[in-house]
């Protein structure tokens, strides 16, 4: 073997080793096996109890450093008013960060509608937040591994890793994700991950004066939230998408989009 052949062989050998090593880092089957954990965070919303004060939205924005006056939010409250003629009006003025302080429905573009009291057949508030889906479509589409699901079910966004491509914002069937105006990355509710991991309730849950919002662990049979989900009529948003959302609602009307 002359020197030329030796160098050639050495280069080929190195290439093969590095390739194999590199691929191994990406696909490691032993790690793919899911660990069984006794913790899975879920959320329960009671739409009858919600009074539309919007303190949850205020608390969320301030707790999670989402610029207060920017028109994006990790959570918001929608109002639905159904008239005796079957018409449905829905609005969420400024995501309800200042609550609902008028009976007029915000139709957008500066137009408002008064609905006379006698005509209102039913009306209610629906708080919305990230569903922390069991099968999150937003995670599946991320090209760089910047958003992921934890073993406790919470989906997080890695702000250092996110390239801001916006695929996840398009992929969420619930419109929960948005572009953070300061960090320029995708952002969304994470059940206040910094609070629930230190024994605190999420900011919105703590701020709620009526108990319309609750957090729980669906793997704990002594948990009051788990008990309600197991024994009462609860519903989730858009189950037909197959994402298996984990925010449960009591009193979710068919009008809710």
């Amino acid at each position: 073997m002359n020197r030329r052949d030796f160098i050639k062989l050495a280069m080929k050998g190195t290439a093969v080793v590095v390739l194999a090593k590199g691929l191994d880092g990406i696909f490691r089957p032993s790690d793919v096996q899911a660990l069984a954990t006794p913790l899975r965070f879920v959320f329960l919303v009671d739409t009858y109890k919600c009074i539309g004060c919007g303190f949850c939205v205020k608390a969320c924005k301030l707790e999670n450093e989402i610029p207060f006056d920017a028109d994006v939010s990790r959570t918001w409250v929608e109002r639905y008013v159904v008239t005796s003629e079957g018409e449905v009006f829905a609005d969420t003025p400024k995501e309800a960060r200042n609550g609902f302080i008028t009976g007029q429905i915000d139709l957008g573009r500066g137009k408002f509608k008064d609905i006379p009291r006698e005509k209102i057949k039913k009306a209610f508030f629906v708080p919305k937040l990230c569903n922390q889906c069991e099968k999150p479509s937003c995670v599946q589409v991320c090209p760089v591994g910047a958003t992921y699901q934890n073993a406790d079910g919470v989906v997080l966004v890695d702000r250092k890793w996110c390239i801001g491509c916006g695929y996840c914002i398009m992929a969420c069937p619930y419109g929960m994700r948005f572009f953070h105006p300061v960090h320029h990355v995708a952002d969304k509710c994470n059940f206040c991950y910094h609070r629930i991991n230190h024994g605190l309730r999420p900011a919105c849950v703590q701020a709620c004066p009526t108990g319309a919002r609750q957090i729980g662990n669906i793997k704990d049979h002594g948990d009051p939230v788990e008990n309600i989900i197991r024994t009462q009529q609860v519903a989730v948003h858009k189950p037909e998408y197959g994402t298996n959302p984990q925010v449960y609602y009591i009193g979710l009307g068919e009008e809710v989009r």
Binding site: T14, A15, D31, I51, L62, K121, A123, F124, F125, K160
Partner: protein, 157 residues
């Protein structure tokens, strides 16, 4: 052998990319508990999120210093409202900020007290007023005590 040269170039490029990747990508980046589809990420990000600063401290905390307000609030109609809903997040109060805001705006109270006739919502059970008629232009706290709302009418301090 000439035909194979482009292949060597491609291989060399692949090797360079993989070497660069091994420097660029942190060791904790990879597939974790939830599998490749949902659990392909940088592990240390979980700790980063856990260490995010807590701003809302809860009313038990306030009560340790403002016992008077806490006791008044607990004994009246507004007992279920968090202090910080009206005064803003405590953060490191009283070190930083030294004082929390005193929001005397009508809008604060109207979040709950604008009369809305919503039959399928608990909102309709709260005593409501018409903000366009009830003492227009005056701060609610001029006549009502925010902490002791159970005493209606004129406030006497």
């Amino acid at each position: 052998m000439h035909v194979l040269r482009p292949l060597y170039v491609v291989l060399a490029l692949a090797v360079i990319m993989l070497i660069a990747r091994s420097f660029w990508v942190p060791n904790d980046f990879g597939t974790h508990e939830q599998g490749y589809t949902y659990g392909w990420y940088r592990q240390s990000n979980v700790e980063e999120w856990k260490n995010f600063t807590v701003k809302y401290r809860g009313k038990e905390f306030c009560g340790t210093c403002h016992a008077g307000q806490a006791q008044k609030l607990a004994s009246a109609h507004h007992k279920d409202i968090e202090c910080e809903n009206c005064h803003g997040p405590a953060l490191f109060h009283p070190a930083d900020p030294l004082k929390l805001v005193l929001d005397r705006s009508r809008e604060l109270c109207l979040r709950c007290h604008t009369s809305l006739f919503y039959p399928t919502s608990q909102r309709s059970q709260i005593k409501g007023i018409n903000p366009d008629q009830h003492n227009l232009g005056l701060e609610c706290t001029l006549c009502h005590k925010p902490h002791e709302a159970s005493k209606p009418g004129r406030r006497n301090r």
